[in-house]
């Protein structure tokens, strides 16, 4: 029943999204308002149908309907409810359906929220969002169907008795419920982690959200309304998507840090890089779009960036879902590879062609010229060049060079983590330099004298605060240079915010909180942006600390014995084997105490979990004593089988690692501040502001 409901609503949603495209197109062409309105309603119905379909699969997961092969392959009777629900995106078919659901939700929200304010762009927005949605629904219907069920054909030769189909094939019976429950796979143990449960939806929201700015840009190109309308309409969508994408990337890093052990959070793996690529172009766009709003410049460039961001989203989806990244030839391994590639090519080709067409008509001409090398707009362009340089480097080393070498030289060349770290740091540091100087530069032309005056205090503050790191024993010269540049960017953000704060305090008689609210209200992107810069500074400090100053050791300890590292003493007390947890895993756990200067500060319990129901059956789970200063990270490596007296541990000290996560939180708060400006104002004031803007 659930399979039929889910599958049929998918097909209906597909048909309706096609209808919406046609209706919006005809309505716009013939200026038939009722047709355009009908297209809008179709968008909402399509969203409703995808919701029903996704709901059916979710319900099937919750009620353990193992007749559906997707449910059978990602859950098992012993799984807790939380992971049962998150198994919706645990594997390809479900996650594609979930992806379509989010996409339909974004499209519906964009149409509803922007209907009045951007009516002229709406037909185009409907056409492009629904075209993309229809593609993904088509993939779910014909290639990666989440609703196929198991059927047994006892008359068939051995090895071919099990069939997969949505509807019952002739001559088959449904397998018994008990047999299905016994054999159900369960979710890959590596994915049973809170971060992994919420990392994919965040990443998908970020990916899918960029559909809306893309659709607005395409609608602008199609309609010829290339004023700042499309940028105004898509501004908040872009920030929201960027927020989710950033959150998704950080949660992925956190998951790797916790689950994959070894204290790493970013390995420059092609799959990770595929998710980073749209973030890089999107971040470049968020910066350069301000130049267009303030100065009417870089119109063609912004158009290229917003189209490029979505192209990167589709490329990333294609690269990670098709298996492209291991080898070009694994292309064919998943049925999704060829359609995804063609779709990516189509999206890129059509959008490029549209942009070139309007460009040749002179509709993307800038209103001002660049006047000085040292101006805010020039520095923003440099910022864009650096972001795109990182984009091309990451793309080329992850995908370009390996594919080219295999196709033309018949040899696969790959680039590892060390390579990325070695070659990308100059570009990353350049971004921090720009973050320090660009906010202090003026539009048009910056006088050196003024700039010197503005940067003096942040420079002093950064040198003083550098002393703190020196005192902590971080004396490597290169890392100190890195710290200094990163700190300067942070102090510029803090000092500029402080200046704005003081200037307003002088004029208005209000309490400090009111001033902060008013600053964010009046200039959300400036102060939200500074907060984001501060977050990125904190992340930078964490990255330098944890990569340059990581310390490690390993030792075999008898019970009662201790090891010393970095001023800490770690004492091994006992090992408990064979503990059974509620979800059926068997746990072997060591108990150690950590002390510093003779005082016990924490109990640490690294463990090894054994999953009897799964083939991929053991998981080493580290435990850490976590503080702002560092993570004291302990892994249980092994013990003697006969007695549990001796056990071996591997210990890492990751200095300042937690700043990476805390900086991430500051970045998220900053993005929220930049994108949610009106929430704190009364409706009356908002109305006046809206009227003011529309005049």
């Amino acid at each position: 029943m659930l399979a039929e409901v889910g599958y049929l609503s998918l097909i209906i949603a597909f048909g309706i999204s096609l209808y919406a495209i046609v209706a919006a197109f005809i309505g716009e062409r013939n200026h038939t308002e009722s047709m355009v309105r009908s297209a809008r309603n179709a968008v909402l119905v399509a969203f409703g149908m995808v919701t029903v379909s996704t709901g059916a699969l979710l319900y099937a997961l919750m009620v353990e309907d193992y007749t559906i092969s997707y449910v059978w392959s990602v859950t098992s009777p012993s799984m807790p409810e939380f992971y049962r629900a998150t198994a919706l995106w645990g594997s390809q078919e479900g996650s594609l359906l979930f992806w379509s659901f989010l996409m339909a939700a974004f499209a519906a929200a964009a149409v509803v929220l922007n209907w009045k304010s951007h009516r002229r762009l709406m037909p185009g927005v409907i056409v492009y969002t629904m075209a993309v949605l229809a593609f993904f629904l088509g993939v779910s219907i014909w290639v990666e169907n989440p609703f196929v069920r198991w059927w047994l054909d006892s008359g068939a030769p051995e090895g071919q008795q099990v069939l997969q189909a949505v509807f019952q094939p002739a001559g088959t019976v449904q397998p018994t419920a008990t047999r299905l429950a016994e054999t159900a796979n369960g979710l890959n143990p590596l994915l049973r982690h809170f971060g992994m449960a919420i990392h994919p939806p965040m990443l998908y929201l970020g990916f899918v959200g960029f559909l809306i700015p893309f659709a607005f840009a395409m609608a602008a190109l199609a309609s010829g309304d290339l004023s700042t309308n499309w940028i105004k309409a898509s501004r908040r969508w872009t920030l929201t998507s960027w927020l989710f994408l950033s959150l998704g990337l950080m949660l992925g890093g956190r998951w790797a840090y916790d689950v994959l052990g070894w204290g790493g959070y970013w390995a420059w793996d092609p799959v990770e890089n595929a998710a980073l690529l749209p973030w890089l172009v999107g971040t470049a766009f968020l910066h350069s779009v301000m130049i267009q709003e303030k100065r009417g410049m870089l119109k063609a460039w912004n158009m290229a960036l917003v189209l490029g961001t979505f192209s990167a989203v589709i490329f990333g989806t294609f690269a990670t879902r098709s298996g492209l990244v291991e080898s070009v030839h694994s292309f064919a391994r998943s049925g999704i590879g060829v359609p995804m590639f063609l779709f990516w090519f189509g999206v890129t080709f059509i959008s490029t062609a549209m942009a070139l067409w309007r460009y040749n008509q002179g509709m993307l001409k800038d209103e001002h010229e660049f006047k000085s090398l040292f101006s805010r707009e020039t520095l923003f362009v440099v910022n864009n060049v650096v972001f795109l340089a990182i984009f091309f480097a990451v793309f080329w080393w992850s995908f370009g060079a390996p594919i080219v070498s295999e196709l033309f030289f018949n040899k696969v060349v790959t680039y590892g983590e060390a390579h990325f770290n070695q070659y990308l740091w100059p570009l990353l540091l350049a971004l921090y330099v720009l973050m320090g100087i660009a906010p202090l530069s003026a539009w048009g032309y910056t006088s050196v004298k003024r700039f010197g005056k503005a940067i003096l205090i942040p420079v002093i503050l950064s040198v003083v605060s550098l002393g703190v790191f020196f005192m902590m024993g971080m004396t490597d010269v290169l890392s100190l240079v890195g710290y200094w540049i990163v700190l300067l960017a942070g102090w510029v953000a803090i000092y500029e915010t402080y200046r704005g704060f003081m200037a307003r305090q002088k004029i208005h008689n209000e309490n400090p909180l009111q001033t902060v609210a008013a600053l964010l209200q009046r200039n959300p992107r400036r102060y939200g942006g500074y907060l984001i810069h501060l977050g990125v500074t904190i992340i930078g400090i964490g990255i330098i600390g944890s990569t340059v100053y990581q310390a490690e050791t390993q030792q075999t300890l008898e019970t009662g014995e201790s090891l010393e590292i970095g001023g800490y003493t770690l004492t091994y007390h006992r090992l408990d084997t064979g503990l059974v947890s509620s979800d059926g895993r068997i746990i072997d756990r060591a108990t150690l105490t950590l002390s510093r200067n003779g005082r016990e500060i924490d109990v640490i319990s690294p463990r090894r979990d054994f999953f009897p129901e799964s083939e991929m059956n053991t998981m080493t789970i580290a435990d850490a004593h976590s503080s702002l200063e560092n993570d004291f990270y302990v892994l249980l490596v092994g013990w003697e089988e006969i007695s549990t007296q001796r056990a071996t541990f591997k210990v890492y000290i990751n200095p300042l690692i937690n700043l990476v996560w805390w900086g991430g939180i500051v970045l998220i708060v900053g993005t929220l501040a930049a994108s949610w400006p009106h929430a704190i104002l009364p409706v009356r004031v908002r109305e006046t502001m809206r009227k003011g803007r529309e005049q």
Binding site: R179, Y415, H419, A442, Y445, A503, R504
Partner: protein, 174 residues
């Protein structure tokens, strides 16, 4: 607010002088040149060949060079000394192109004629995924003794989560 004074364009309306345009072009060329150099030099020096066991064993020119190597793990060969964190195992050849990873790995470990190579890693905690029929992707160098000294080890276990013909276990009586 103080920043409003900052944002007043100072030279609005003036024509862009020619010398300025040359400045922009020069600065742009230097920037793009630096970026291009970085990416180009990185591409030339940083790449590692991704090889099969056959290629490494039969081509002595790879000896001493940092390469990546992929093969199927032989479960019986895994020796791990927890006290010294030294890890040894053998992998057998798998082709660089295949349709089904699980099947390829299964065939490789059961083929007595497949080329084998011994792998050694130091200072490595034994990975949870290191087991019979896993795909090992190693980064390291081939030593003169014919042992592959790896510094990095990635593993893939397609067995259960990517079955060749899924669902066979459902048939009763297996």
């Amino acid at each position: 607010m103080t920043d409003t004074t900052w944002e007043k364009p100072k030279v609005e309306g003036k024509q862009l002088p020619k010398s300025n345009r040359i400045q922009f072009i020069l600065a742009g060329l230097i920037l793009l040149g630096a970026v291009a150099y970085l990416i180009f030099s990185g591409t030339i020096t940083g790449g590692q060949y991704f090889l099969t066991v056959d290629e490494v064993v039969n081509n002595p020119e790879y000896e001493g060079r940092s390469v990546r190597l992929s093969g199927a793990v032989l479960g019986d060969s895994i020796v791990f000394d927890a006290e010294t964190l030294s890890l040894d195992f053998s992998i057998v050849h798998i082709p660089s192109e295949f349709d089904n990873l699980a099947e390829t790995l299964h065939d490789a470990v059961n083929n007595p004629d497949a080329t084998q190579i011994n792998v050694h890693l130091d200072n490595e905690v034994i990975p949870d995924l290191l087991q019979h029929e896993a795909q090992a992707i190693l980064t390291g160098t081939l030593g003169e003794d014919g042992v592959f000294y790896a510094t990095e080890l990635l593993l893939k276990c397609p067995s259960r989560y990517e079955e060749a013909v899924p669902g066979q276990s459902i048939v009763e009586g297996q």
